[in-house]
Symmetry: C3
Subunit: 444 residues, 3 copies
Amino acid sequence: MLSREDNELICRVGPGTPMGNLMREYWVPALLSKELPGPDCDPVRVMLLGERLIAFRDTLGRVGLIQNHCPHRGASFFFGRTGECGIRCVYHGWQFDINGNCIDMPNEPAESDFRHKVKAVTYPCVERGGLVWTYMGPRETPPPLPDIEINMLPEDEIAIIPSYVESNWLQAVEGEIDTSHTGFLHFGSIQPEDVEEGTFLHYTVKDRAPKYSVVDTEYGTMYGAYRPAKPGYVYWRIAHFNFPFYTQPPEGALGHSVIMNAWVPMDDTHTMSYVMVRKGKSETGRPARLPIQGDSEKYPDMHVPMLPNTSGWFGRFRPAVNATNDYLIDRDVQRNGDDYSGIQYLASQDRAVQESMGGIYDRTQERLASSDVMVIRVRRRLLGAARALAEKAVIPPGVDNPEVYRNRSGGVLLPEGADWIEDTKELRQAFVEHPEIAEQQPQP
Amino acid sequence: MLSREDNELICRVGPGTPMGNLMREYWVPALLSKELPGPDCDPVRVMLLGERLIAFRDTLGRVGLIQNHCPHRGASFFFGRTGECGIRCVYHGWQFDINGNCIDMPNEPAESDFRHKVKAVTYPCVERGGLVWTYMGPRETPPPLPDIEINMLPEDEIAIIPSYVESNWLQAVEGEIDTSHTGFLHFGSIQPEDVEEGTFLHYTVKDRAPKYSVVDTEYGTMYGAYRPAKPGYVYWRIAHFNFPFYTQPPEGALGHSVIMNAWVPMDDTHTMSYVMVRKGKSETGRPARLPIQGDSEKYPDMHVPMLPNTSGWFGRFRPAVNATNDYLIDRDVQRNGDDYSGIQYLASQDRAVQESMGGIYDRTQERLASSDVMVIRVRRRLLGAARALAEKAVIPPGVDNPEVYRNRSGGVLLPEGADWIEDTKELRQAFVEHPEIAEQQPQP
Amino acid sequence: MLSREDNELICRVGPGTPMGNLMREYWVPALLSKELPGPDCDPVRVMLLGERLIAFRDTLGRVGLIQNHCPHRGASFFFGRTGECGIRCVYHGWQFDINGNCIDMPNEPAESDFRHKVKAVTYPCVERGGLVWTYMGPRETPPPLPDIEINMLPEDEIAIIPSYVESNWLQAVEGEIDTSHTGFLHFGSIQPEDVEEGTFLHYTVKDRAPKYSVVDTEYGTMYGAYRPAKPGYVYWRIAHFNFPFYTQPPEGALGHSVIMNAWVPMDDTHTMSYVMVRKGKSETGRPARLPIQGDSEKYPDMHVPMLPNTSGWFGRFRPAVNATNDYLIDRDVQRNGDDYSGIQYLASQDRAVQESMGGIYDRTQERLASSDVMVIRVRRRLLGAARALAEKAVIPPGVDNPEVYRNRSGGVLLPEGADWIEDTKELRQAFVEHPEIAEQQPQP
């Protein structure tokens, strides 16, 4: 559990909050590049860390992220005219470039220099791997982008699944770093005899109460969850939390799986998740009837159906399976044991539990168990880093060390008595190919 | 009128409020038995006294009422798996029985005894007369159920009409104990010459300003409203308020009518009403064109049309005739005098006035008249009892005396000069049959 | 910009606020006469200056405006029975006349005189020019109605276009007294060569950064915006702000145009606008493809499509082109330059910018320019008058001087060096016909 004070501190991310300040030290994903399909395309409303922003692409193709309200009299730039390398408020024609400079003020006399005194809040943006990244922090020169492998691959090898979550970002992160729920929420109905012996999934459903080892790292926190495997071997599931809101779940085989999930706060009670996986290479040990979010080409029918995007502040990437329809829970399927939750789609199962906790869960009411050791450790690191920044201006983990993000997660069999940290060092390195892994590792 | 302080005190019923504490001394109706149709059926969201609860029926058919959020990490039990004599959170498989014991914690190591340290908030439930009753109070051993006659009849003799009201519970109660409005809101358009002479309704519409006698009782408050009847006789309408939220309106003939209405707060601004009448025996003096809520077999087309239930917190038993459609008021019918309000259905008429007062009416703005003497007295009793409990731990009326609820209400002709209290004692007794009453009393 | 304190003071208009008190010194338009089509017609919910009121027309055809909640127990008069020269609450039949007197209290004994002690809040109403005017202020005898010319013409010469705006009233007023936006939001796509030389519009689009002259007046504030016209001439656009919320924009030719727009606060974040123009005589210099709000006979297809009225507090005169559909912005039209905003209808363009500022715009964030001189001056006058009333009981401008409203606005060509105030005195006088004006002035 958390005290009320700590729960507030860790959850709230608006301007001026300690956790909001921590997140603003990093580059954060703002939207998908393809949401701004070309120069001078339609602007997009973006809610980010509690701020209302308008994203646009200028005539040169550069992305701008500007305050919603025109600095002049407050009309929204959403209705703005793009073109001529800027965005122009339709109220009086004031035009701003992606750096917030007022480059035209046509309703003022020609001799006026007032436009040089007016600046709009904009945040610098760069694009990489299908994402528009932005830096909302205090530095004049932003830090480097994090070395997130999946985001640095050639764009045609990356699959991104964006999804809107109606809860605080931490509830989503905690669901992802919580390997214990996998054997229940997702695979609780699968019996060991249903699965081919020797596969990861077989070990998972044979022992649903694994033990855990958790260590702090330069980039955040890492856990290994372990349980018995074939004689003489232990099955390890190794996964990461990366500052400030990234997770690398243990899907697929360690050394082979390239994945990163970002849980970006829109505001305190809404989150945009970006699941990023390698196209055609991220097979996991999951049985086919439990579709995963992932490669849109390989698993065309495994995606949660989505509502059409709207232009609203919370209109992007809304799953059609959501709280308003109880996630289409099928009570008969749940009851007869065909599926543990009765909810189709892994991602919907996660959202059902996370969102049902409410906008911000009151963590004074929790009773944490030994399986929550990773959750506990990550909270402690986040709170510690937010306080260190607020009180002693300590730069948070990884901000100036992009290379610490070069990690991989996944499952692996290690001999009994092996040192899980030392002996997986190479497999955990990003940007290293292990073509043999996919064959060696026991997939279902 | 009430002071702002008294109005807050009497209306608010959440955990820890004085009126909430008073209500928690009693058993309260939580939902209908048939909403949980069988062992291990689908759970139901129940909002009760400002608490979010999940109702379920276990494998043995026993009803459980458990806190919405799993004590572990807060996922809602609404998505829980029923079966094996409990409800199991789908997040990590923790299973609880109807008493709140954690009976399985499958993601913890076998040797862990942590499950014995975790308890969920549950409220004991019993079923009687088609209702699930629950006790949300502080006692280890709850008090007895109240001896409410209609709730103790064989179930096939009881008709229950549940209905959701969008206002504070007290506005609904006050509408029910207010016999004065009957001659206007419900029967204002009926002229004495429209009704057969000698019937109750004839006297009612002939004199719309009766006099009142009000007395405090062991169970709450009783009134007799009286007006001239046939020569030498007085027509008395005798009705009850029973602690903490029950009303017995004067429908039908005293000694014959068996009725109890419960106005159960869902939260401070939403109420669930349960109207309970005897099937096939509760004819009243009301004219046919003004259908009443009541016996669903005798009056199949007299019920307010209902929207389909949803699984939402406020999705149960919603009238289709409601504020969003102005209660389908027909202004021409209202204007031409065919009906006083222009609103079809007695129950919709009541809801129109009660709900139009707003969620919680500001009673500092009232101007009470002599016809409000019952309303005034009931408020005083409720406030007194809530304060006595809060300040001196005085057990509220009837909590430990179930027999005080054994009352009947209704209309009766008494000779002029009769003692209305003394002379109706026998007719007011529950569980006594007076087969002659239906014939003796002047029905329309 | 305004300080937070001034912004609150100038925007909020509920009972007891300084600006609310200022507005209550004046007669204010409450609704259209035709919304109450005849004696004893259906009542109408009216939200006005933050108060919920029920408008009705009594048997003699007189308009009443009564508090929503019956003084007795709070049921809404919306469900009340009209007739017998009053409105009767359907709960207990209490009947009130348009002056708030309780004229019948039928559920009290005949001998009771309680009805003489009960009074409902009502506001006196008069009808003129298609509007129902009401006085919500403290005087026993209200001041005279303002001499608003367009409201005093024969009713068949007046066109009124009512329209609901989802923002604070001041945002709407500021949009109207801001002539600078015309050349951008409305005519930004029109090039000088598109328009016949010598017309007002030609001068407007040829010079989009006019200069301004602003003067305080007895009724409020007047501006003249000026720019070069044909050789030796200056094109002046002269317009007025009239206390407390009226605007006379410079549409059409000065001396010919008869117009008044009222921006009546429903509450702090919703406004009802009444645009009033002379039927068949208010041609302006606007090109046909940009329809204006105005004369419904001459420009039948120039009106913003409206949603059907509902009986809700905010259900009257809602444009179908609104924030929920992004004002049907057509990005291609905006981009290709066919229209500056891509939004059809002048009125929708105004609403898009005003409403996108939010319910109450935070004016601490503004950067005002020289083109905002009228906005600045009007705010100062409003703040000054509200403070003078609050602190020194100074009667606000025009309250007791109805004749100060006798003004006209519009465009005019004056010789270079002319005194725009002195030399337009006659043309600015209301109630004076200048039949030659329509021909003399350069229409497009």
